[in-house]
Symmetry: C2
Subunit: 307 residues, 2 copies
Amino acid sequence: MKRSAEDLLLGKILKGLPASDDLVLGPGDDCAVVRTNRGLQLLKTDCIAEGVHFLRAHDPARVGWKALCRPLSDIAAMGGEPGQALITIFSPPDLNNQYWVEFYKGIRKAARKFGVCIAGGEMSRQPNGIAVSVALTGTVPGGRFVGRSGGRPGDLLFVTGRLGGSFAGHHLDFSPRLQEGRWLAGTARASAMMDLSDGLGSDLPRLARASGCGFDADLASLPLREGSGTTGALTDGEDYELLFAVSPGQAAGLAAKWKSAFPRTPLTRIGMLNSAGLAPMGWPGGWDHFSVVSPPPARAACGWTAG
Amino acid sequence: MKRSAEDLLLGKILKGLPASDDLVLGPGDDCAVVRTNRGLQLLKTDCIAEGVHFLRAHDPARVGWKALCRPLSDIAAMGGEPGQALITIFSPPDLNNQYWVEFYKGIRKAARKFGVCIAGGEMSRQPNGIAVSVALTGTVPGGRFVGRSGGRPGDLLFVTGRLGGSFAGHHLDFSPRLQEGRWLAGTARASAMMDLSDGLGSDLPRLARASGCGFDADLASLPLREGSGTTGALTDGEDYELLFAVSPGQAAGLAAKWKSAFPRTPLTRIGMLNSAGLAPMGWPGGWDHFSVVSPPPARAACGWTAG
């Protein structure tokens, strides 16, 4: 499978980083996993940039909500529970300070709803544009986390919710699938899981590659968000839904148990991991921030994610 | 004492954040302190922005070194030891990917030297300018950390190293005072401590205010970096030296013990905390990023810190 320019650059950068005995899972998954005497700790950083993930005209409270919910979606994808957050803000001189007061209303709302403690932060000027990064700690109930690499040939692939068209509003208002992630890690014994931030088109190959597998997918089966077609479901990104694999044994009866636990959220079987190590012919990539070609401006202004 | 615009904005933003029983020390100190079964954990985020903390023309490896060493300086100021780091990168489309390969050489060098594990990171495009944030975990040996608030009237004030003129190169090449910080927290029983990032002019009032004290300072005694005058020592910022308070009892014999432990690093007594709650008449502020007046461009381009 072809790797994205982003994945290739990351591979170069991360080569030869000092190792540590405490590091159970390093760069390349949704979260890092670190061993402590208390159990396993999840560590995650994510970010948003003006003109890429949001526009100046967007309600700052919704932008704040998004800033915190993005890394929460990665905690969800490990089957984890969030702990403390650190908020780093880059603020341009043409921005009124009141923007940050409103922004923090969204941060507070998400922190209360999902049980996050805002432990600290940092503010800096930058000459142009707003940018925010959020670092999060988390824990994993029972010491069981789900990474991307545990999938096996024959495992069935599912996605939660609906995909595509997130730029109409979903990318600012989504709720991270924290309860669903814990349920999938615990009750459903998912073998591999990740959140969909760059679009199924690039995220599904990442999960398959991490698991040493190829995959088949039934594009006609994709659950579409209202107004989206199949291409949007593959390449729009910012779905913040969970993609996961389960063994055929665990998949039996999964739909009924899911419906009982989460009656309002669709669960869709979309394909299967295989041993071929290939993506299906003509599989489209999702959003790749670090390819040589720049994104068309219309996309860059519509809330496309960086991964 | 007058609060800076940055401190006033932070006060507004942080009001009413959800509390947590695990949070021993929240926003407002060098690091947050969180209780875990393993002991206390330090959490810190810091950042650098192009045109504020570094220029495009600077060697990217030195910029990477600085990006990691800035939050390490805050871990040092708590008397802590660093653990894992998360690196978040905002990269403009006009930047060659090779920049990040070089940048990570500096990150790796600092990580090896100071025993940091790079656990993960995130990369995003932003339309203009480079920005990087680094989040760090840390531990405190023996469960003893030193915040800003433990100073008492009569405690003597000291600084490590020399101050001022950091933009000639020090701001890119400094070494965080990790060993010194642990020694000051342990052997010297510092009552309050912080790192000097915005300049003594604004940082000393912060330590005094957090301790509920005023202060006297002998400006003639300030240890000056080569090429710097007293004003530079107060307002240049980016010294990454430690400012700390000790009781008169602990201060007796401190100079000799310090000289034996750190023979090549000056230690200078610069003043005393008092009960008046005031700064000395005419005390100059350091760098304030969030005042209404914009910084003169020459300063903004010379590596001035955001706090």
